[in-house]
Symmetry: C2
């Protein structure tokens, strides 16, 4: 017989009735105290949690999930932890879910494990919803979740025709603001360091940026695009390729996320011995705290993470499962320009 | 009736027998295909997973966890996501657990939610083990996990007399190497920027560092300590306090993690206009990839994350629950010096 088994059989299980007796409340009050979102007076809840702690009582969510079909577990599929933006996203979801007494089952997806496979694994658990931050997802997989009544919300992206709801910042608007900032500062030639070519986030930032430049008469030949793989290292490499290119470095570089903008800055300054913004101006996107540090002082577009996280949770509809969600709210959320030191001059008006 | 309920009642549930029939194998082979660590030929497993995909079949881990007392879920309690070291730790655990077909239930602990509270919440789920990276944990809580047969392993720390196993790098050894490097480079006065004063990690790095300096005749008055709160911002502030102090800046600063060493460098260079290592030499600890970037080139001690993660999983004993663990292996794992540009001169021999 294993030690584990011995422990299980040897312990006398405290029940909710014991806790109710000690706290001087009804058993149903004890249930409510442990149920997320249930109506209960804070003093009563504290009294019950106190009694539960004294008695080592913990309700068994797993057993109750079989009857309620609710586990209070939400799956979060993270695609890219190398970008600090997603660390901040994970932290924000962790905090907001804990406030709602829900837990995050976290999957990190890399090349070895496709998102579809991750969801296949997830479906073995009784989960109340799926939040997805990686770009690839088949419509078949969204269908499998739907068939099980599990809502899927995409974060920081959307997948056209996937049937999954996408919460995102207004990326195209942000791209336009960066273009405007560069134009006001006198830039004539432009480079973009792009991310996942299949991701809507990168595409929308690029299209807003290019659109605004074209509107202002910039010839298409003065706008070049370099793949940066969404990473710091990819951006370092992209700047080296720009520099080696016949056209040389442009006046202004848009890193479509801050991590790439930081890689571009470091390569310009420490590898090529150039000045930012003196020789080349730079802007990023996301407003990660790292970009605000002394060596960077990066001009960027802030993603409204808190509002995006709350919108995601709202669309998971955790308290009213199965209720139809109003899809007319599927609008991008507008962030705002954060003006620092990597583009010369003053903040232009928003366009 | 809710939409969710309708889906559940309306769908015809595929069973493992349907999958067995399509794949041309026994029903027990199907069970084994979905059981982590079970013996099954890879071709057979692939055939079964293929059939399962075609039939939209997913085993219900929650229901089976009630009979097996195993959910294949391991809880990871993360204390400090602001330190990129823990992002890399999360990624490493995610990958290693997925390789073993286990999932991570992730808790982020902040001031609002104590570790004890996080574990109380965790215990509602059928979890197979707890990995803890935050410093505070009561012996009562370790006892509650033990009573339920749930192993608790501390990562990057230990808590004396807690009864929980601690996996860690040899922090004291690392502190000694940094002291030796500074001494060889000619430093006479020393500053330390420390982390959590209750954490064993910070204490051990500091004690190894101070020990080696004292052994070499450095007077205690030439070694000063400043609280940096384990964060980049805390270290920036610590350097400003050192600078404002009557004794002024020391010859060498040891940031007891890389994030703090990076904050110290940025403040010296960009706020005080000094050179690193010309005016002040710097070393860190952890070897996060960010410290290797062009502007930093930080000399540091590498924590052997992969070996530490594997040792942690080994001590969770997931495949043989309840089997006693050999505690004689509770030895710190030695990392190694990573010699870059923030301490002048060549790498000294290890001490």
């Amino acid at each position: 017989m294993t030690k584990r088994k011995k422990y299980r059989e040897g312990s006398i299980r405290t029940t909710s009735f014991d806790v109710a007796a000690l706290a001087g409340v009804s058993q149903s009050a004890v249930s409510r105290a442990f149920k997320p979102g249930a109506s209960i007076a804070p003093e009563t809840r504290d009294k019950i949690l106190d009694a539960a702690r004294k008695l080592n009582y913990v309700p068994n969510s797993i057993a109750s999930s079989l009857t309620t079909h609710r586990s209070n577990i939400v799956a979060l599929i993270l695609g890219d932890l190398h970008n600090p933006f997603y660390t901040h996203v994970l932290e924000a979801f962790g905090r907001e879910m804990q406030d709602r007494d829900r837990q995050l089952l976290v999957f990190t997806v890399n090349e070895d494990l496709a998102t579809d496979d991750a969801i296949m694994r997830l479906l073995r658990y009784q989960i109340d919803g799926v939040i997805l931050t990686s770009a690839q997802l088949s419509t078949q997989m969204v269908g499998m979740c739907h068939n099980r009544g599990i809502p899927v919300v995409l974060f920081n992206r959307y997948i056209p025709q996937s049937g999954a709801f996408g919460v995102r910042c207004d990326n195209s608007w942000g791209g336009r603001q960066i273009a405007e900032a560069f134009l006001r500062a006198g830039a004539k030639t432009f480079g973009m360091i792009t991310g996942d070519p299949n991701g809507t986030t990168s595409k929308d930032r690029v299209s807003g940026f290019v659109e605004r430049l074209i509107e202002n008469g910039v010839p298409r030949t003065a706008i070049r695009s370099f793949e940066g793989n969404s990473t710091y290292e990819g951006a370092c490499d992209a700047v080296r390729r720009m520099h080696a290119d016949a056209d040389g470095l442009p006046d202004a570089i848009f890193g479509i996320n801050d991590t790439m903008a930081m890689g571009a800055m470091d390569t310009l300054r420490h590898h090529l011995g150039l000045s930012v913004p003196g020789d080349v101006m730079i802007a990023g996107f996301d407003d990660i705290p790292e970009g605000a540090r002394l060596p960077y002082q990066l001009t960027t577009v802030r993603q409204p993470i808190k509002r995006m996280v709350r919108a995601t949770i709202e669309h998971l509809n955790l308290d009213n499962p199965g209720q139809p969600i109003d899809l007319t709210h599927d609008q991008p959320i507008r962030g705002h320009m954060v003006w620092r030191k990597t583009v010369p001059g003053d903040a232009p008006p928003e366009v």
